[in-house]
């Protein structure tokens, strides 16, 4: 009988371990250390973990140095509290002051707080990270980002939407961001790709929700314009196309009282109510659905 454990069996066994053990496993030998960074592991791990022990990554935005913690719901021995553990040693060494652009399958996409660049995709549990190449930047620009995974193409992508001022246009005199450029970076590739422009002005620094392989943003919440109305814009990470989604008719979504979230895989809106409750409305269980008018009310979440 063979003596050494074949790599695919090791991978399978490792994917069944709680995340803290996964980190120790990197010390066993060089081959296992490499396994800890194998993208197959993160996908296998995630599909198992989501069914068994969901784990939260918490981000504490403190001055100068940000902190990351993780809380796992896995097997806490009786009598012990489920403690949050700090996991930011690697993150703070590469980028102490960062924004979290997005997280999916245990991977985080972070960017510099002030300048956006550099950006990294990293796995805080095993400490591996990739620095993203430099995108095209513009003189006066506003950047909105998004990070997600598409379950069919099995690719991780970062989307960068830039609005900028065209210096040759008279509108530049009033600082009007009339031009746009959308760039996509696929994890594993060497450079950003420009895929065209976007017809909407997006609010916020990063995408609010990832559901069904699509990123979602809300259009400018405080646009000073006649006929201004609010929209949700989605970007399918597989097709790489934008699409507008109508706001739910139920509930009381006004311009700035809600956040998009992904609830059980459905695009949802979380609304802060005056009594301190959170109400959510979701889009209906139709995956990648076009029948977007069907928002349901989910109370008491």
């Amino acid at each position: 009988m063979m003596d050494t454990l074949p790599i695919e069996i090791a991978l399978d066994i490792l994917s069944r371990l709680p995340v803290t053990c996964l980190t120790q496993i990197k010390c066993v030998c060089k081959a296992w250390c490499a396994l800890g960074q194998d993208p197959r592991l993160s996908v296998l791990y995630h599909t198992r973990a989501i069914n068994k022990d969901p784990c939260l990554i918490l981000h504490r935005n403190s001055p100068i140095r940000n902190e990351l913690y993780h809380v796992s719901s896995a097997r806490v021995p009786e009598g012990l509290l489920n403690k949050a553990t700090r996991i930011d040693s690697r993150v703070t060494s590469i980028l102490p002051d960062h924004n979290i652009i997005g997280s999916c399958n245990g991977l985080l996409c972070i960017s510099d707080v002030l300048h956006i660049d550099p950006m990294y995709i990293l796995n805080p549990f095993v400490g591996s990270h990739t620095r993203l190449p430099r995108p095209i930047s513009y003189h006066e620009q506003e950047v909105t980002l998004g990070f997600g995974y598409h379950p069919i193409t099995k690719e991780y992508k970062v989307v960068r939407i830039t609005s900028y001022v065209n210096k040759d246009s008279y509108l530049s005199l009033v600082g009007w961001f009339e031009e746009s450029d959308v760039q996509v970076f696929t994890l594993g590739m060497k450079a950003w790709r420009s895929i065209g422009t976007i017809a909407w002005r997006i609010d916020g620094i990063s995408s609010e929700a990832l559901s069904n392989g699509a990123l979602h943003w809300v259009t400018m919440r405080r646009e000073y314009l006649p006929n201004h109305s609010l929209h949700i814009v989605s970007f399918d990470l597989g097709e790489e196309r934008f699409k507008e989604i109508e706001l739910p008719s139920c509930g009381s979504l006004s311009s700035c009282n809600f956040h998009l979230i992904s609830l059980q895989g459905c695009l949802s809106a979380a609304v802060c109510c005056p009594e301190g409750q959170i109400e959510t409305a979701d889009q209906g269980s139709h995956p990648s659905s076009l029948r977007l008018e069907e928002w349901r009310n989910l109370a008491g979440v």
Binding site: M1, M2, D3, T4, L5, P6, E8, I9, A10, D12, I13, L14, R16, L17, P18, T20, C21, T23, Q24, I25, K26, C27, V28, C29, K30, W32, C33, T85, R86, I87, S89, R90, G127
Partner: protein, 165 residues
């Protein structure tokens, strides 16, 4: 040995023969494909060259119960009964043998048992020290002392509550 149509003989690496119902053996993908390849031939002996007899016996025991339970609980409740049996089944297996078993199961391509054994091994090495894991799998540490110290330093948070055995 009487060999009827729905029986097959599995031969271990030591040459020991096990007569098994086809319904049981067909859960082993490798046996299934060998038999399909030589369909029509009267020879119903499949040699499992690298699998020791003790593992062949374990695998047969698992799938025999699997098939029986599935028949008995067709109406429902199969999964709970199987879980109960899996617990007993794993209790009688020495921890050192799990590693040999998982490789045998992987070779025979038997998904249900593979899942069970991988989970059992993961449970066993969970919260064990790095040294224990190396010894358990017979892995040689190929890090230099400095390299290992560096990795440990990076992940100090993960070493709280580790057992030494």
């Amino acid at each position: 040995m009487a060999s009827t149509d729905d029986k097959v003989i599995l031969k271990s690496s030591e040459g020991e023969c096990f007569e098994v119902d086809m319904a049981v053996a067909s859960h082993l993908q490798i046996v299934k494909s060998v038999l399909e390849d030589c369909e029509g031939s009267s020879d119903k002996v499949v040699s499992l060259f690298i699998v020791e007899a003790k593992y062949v016996a374990m695998i047969i025991e698992y799938y025999k119960n699997y098939v029986e339970l599935k028949e008995k609980h067709e109406e429902g409740g199969f999964e709970e009964k199987l879980k109960e049996f899996e617990k007993q089944f794993l209790e009688q297996i020495d921890k050192k043998e799990l590693k040999g078993l998982v490789m045998a199961v992987n070779y025979l391509n038997a998904p249900a048992l593979f899942d069970v054994v991988c989970t059992a091994i993961a449970k066993h090495i969970e919260n064990k020290s790095v040294e224990y894991v190396r010894e358990y799998f017979g892995i040689v540490n190929d890090f230099t002392a400095e390299e290992e110290a560096q990795i440990r330093e990076e992940h100090r948070w993960a070493y709280d509550g580790v057992n030494d055995d």
